[in-house]
Amino acid sequence: MNIISFLVTYLSVAAVYALLAISMNIDYGWAGIPDFGKAAFIAAGGIAAAIVATRIVPPLMLHMHPANPSKLSFFTYYNGKILPAITAHPIDTWIVFIISILLGGIIAAGFAVIFSYPAIRLKEDYLAIALLMAAQIVWLFLRVYTPIMGGTMSMTLPSPSFKPIARALFHSTSPSAIDAAKALFLWGLVGVFLYYAEKQMNSPFGRMLRMVRDDEYAAAALGKNVARARLESLIVASFLAGVAGAVYVLIHFSSVNPDYFMPDLTFFVLTLVLVGGVGNNIGSIIGALLIALLYRASYIFGTSLGFSWGSYLYYMIIGLAILITIFVRPNGILPEKPVRTPAWDVYALVRGKQPWFLRRILMRGRGKVNTGEKSE
């Protein structure tokens, strides 16, 4: 396998993980909610994509009857008629994509409103387990209730076509050009997520979430509506998880199957955030890049060993990554950054100096003030 194509595939995979990680960083990282139901929110994206491809787009745009995945005739009809009709026009595949990410986000946000009921009342341990059970219920339900995505039979989805983008960018529609266009697009999406998350976090809202996370009683005593803050962060994070879920099935897999959303997925995403740095968005992305590499490398290496257990080597890698992080760098590779708002400009103006951490981390490059004594 040539190195460029490995790199391009790897970057695409890492980008998808990064999207999931940023979402996890919002509710787990900022607000401290142990969102062990993440897999269910990601599944919402899968549900949306399946519904859009089978029931929304055919009647709306193709003047065809909707398809019902639980019917016996589904495969002949859907694979034979609907899929070719959608994929015939790149524009249509993108319409499917856009409706799917929006619907996925909305469904996930709806789940969040339901799940928030326990999230506001239960203690950490209980909450983590309750959310995990809820995710398991969603997974089991999708496996058994076939009308949504046909149970476990893996339904093909119309992946958005990157041909036009590849042609525009690289003047080529070779498979490698298409893969490169895909990777670029996905990283563009990561950029959008990152921009949003940074902006949302560096505000009084972001500061309030940290207050709620650090000490909810002090937050309540000083006027923060703790329940509401939790609900809002859960809704935002879940909306992004739903969007990421639609990307996950439409671009990463080009198909959908309930087993993509097994509750284990949550732990995988949690690992990305934990290793990268809880509360740090860039850290989440670095975690995704690193773990995706370790994951792929250990999978390739493990299977090449020729033992029946080799393909499970990645368990060891993920497990060790978690344990080493907790013991050696409990705050992850990139620790959390201070909240940056204009208040610090006022601080600098009034006090005539900037705090050392702002000079070092945030205002890099602006550097007008001399080197910082770590005020100790």
């Binding site: 009342r121 209980y126 995990l132 398991q136 949690l270 368990y315 497990g319 907790i326």
Partner: protein
Amino acid sequence: MGVTFMVYSLAWGSALALMASGLSLYYSVSKVANFAHGSYVSMGLLAYLLAIAFAHWGSKITGFGIDHYAIFNISNLWALIPAFLVAGLVSLASFAGIFWPLMKRGATPLQLLVASIGLMFVLRFLMYIVAGSMNWITLWTPGSTTYHILGVRITLAEILSFVLLALVAGLIALLETKTLIGVSLRAIASNPSLAEASGIDSFKVQALAWFLGGGFAGLGGVLMFIFTGPPGGRPIVELGWMNLLSIFAAAVLGGLGSFYGTIIAALILGIAFNQAAAWFTIYLNVSSSLALLIPFGITLLTLLFFPQGLAGINWRKLVNKIRITRVEEEVVRR
């Protein structure tokens, strides 16, 4: 469905109770929601199989061959001892090597929980090496000797699960009331800092709880495997993981850390799950795995109304606790 099935449901519930009460036992003193608990379950099963394999070394014990020897009968009962010991020691080691050091550093409950996820993955891989080397990645249940008592069909595994559960419950009761270490156990559970101040060796007491808790999980694992075989046709190593949520459901429903509450919850869930599974396949014609909806649903609903589980509702001495809402309890603890 009759008596036979009821007995089976209760026995299944007892196996679950063994696994879940182990979790509750060490949770009560260490407050770790340990996701690696499922690994102790699978460890117990692997130790049972390995012990029998060693006893029949030279015969065809790799692959499905082991099923022939590992049948649960009187002459194989001894293999429960290594199951208990191995699972208990692994549990003890994970406490001493991972959770205790983290607790000493003041790790938050969430950090402990996440560490346990890391441990779970590592242990799973180690078990895959063992299971893979013996070619045991997928196996069927070896089954159990069957008796007919008063017209009721009952297997040795079912009898054993009742007997073991009774023994375990009795052992803990004796320990807690009659021995110093049991009293220390309860002291730490109710007020860790006070207990430590009064000279109780917190590490020793917690270590004992982890050893017993892991051991109980291992025993439950063997029995559960005899009852249900490989979970959903997946690798036998996944036995613990596939049952982990049921274990947590029982522990949470019983009130995390409440030993007897957990046992009662597990029995309730065992009956609910198995009856629902039968009902689902017979009347609704849907997969019995969906029947997990019932125990999980019961647990979630209970939690919504009683955030502390059954222990918060029933137990006389804990009645006070539930009256004080969560906020109050926390504010005061500091």
